[in-house]
Symmetry: C2
Subunit: 134 residues, 2 copies
DNA sequence: CAATCAAGGACTTATTATATCTATAATATC
DNA sequence: GATATTATAGATATAATAAGTCCTTGATTG
């Protein structure tokens, strides 16, 4: 079990967008090039962020993507869940009674992780270091 | 990103072994049947637990698997790492300087989860409820 | 020795991740 | 209004990993 590369791309793109102008959109071409990934693929990933309401897209010439929310509202968890989904990391087909002690432990562990990802805002690290890719 | 089914099998098997006799081994046949998984596949999984030193195997007739450590030494994390490995959940090909703020956040989040899995012993829940499978 | 059991290698199948390609729709600029 | 630019979306392709099977070998019991 690993986080997907898509999550990695999403995080880096968001960092770039946070550092960029909140008005002038950045094209996927440019975003993709700096990460060494194909524009079409990155586009698919970013569309999920759009649907999650974190960024907005601008079609047409000079179009691209820009933030839709305030920087400070965006957490690591938001981005990760937009890409990876919100399903539990530990899935079990059966249901043994209302409560399962195994799942309880696993879920609680997961929540510890999510809690940290939720309280860490992307803007926190964006200002600390302007991450230069590649 | 999800935990694999192999981890699920490993956890359930360990719970069974903890509840079972520490001397008389339990055959993989029996362990597999109770979980609805093939014996050969489960065998592969259990071999990893053997190599991790948590259980020991007994070949030959009336053979099988039994605990090698004390119950109280075995944590969720032990089992999970024996199956899933210990690699970081968030991998990045590049190395941008000694420290990367993104990886710092992700690693710390991961450690929160691991910390909980490490402090929870399997024996804790084994005694609470004798999990009956299926 | 014969039956029983785990270990391990080679292989297959299923599922998911990681793309690519093409067509379509929206927008800006001229 | 025509053209270039750019995101969206569906279909498809490839790669990687998970999940499972099969068969052989070697250890142990009785
Ligand atoms: S005990 Fe819990 S984790 Fe195990 S099979 Fe039952 S519901 Fe699933
Ligand atoms: S900034 Fe960190 S996570 Fe991003 S590419 Fe560099 S090392 Fe990797």
């Amino acid at each position: 079990m690993r986080f997907t590369k898509a999550t990695n791309y999403a995080l880096h793109t968001m960092l770039t967008l946070i550092a960029a102008s909140p008005v002038t959109p950045v094209g996927v071409q440019q975003l993709a090039e700096s990460q060494g990934v194909s524009p079409t693929y990155l586009s698919k990933i970013l569309t999920r962020l759009v649907k999650a309401g974190m960024i907005e897209s601008v079609s047409g010439a000079n179009g691209g993507y820009r933030l839709s929310r305030k920087k400070d509202d965006i957490t690591f968890l938001d981005i990760i869940q937009a890409i990876e989904g919100t399903a539990s990391l530990f899935e079990c087909d059966f249901v043994h009674g209302d409560e399962c002690l195994i799942q309880d432990v696993m879920k609680e562990a997961e929540e510890k992780m999510e809690s940290h990802l939720k309280k860490t805002k992307l803007a926190d690290i964006a200002q600390k270091a302007n991450v230069s890719l590649r």
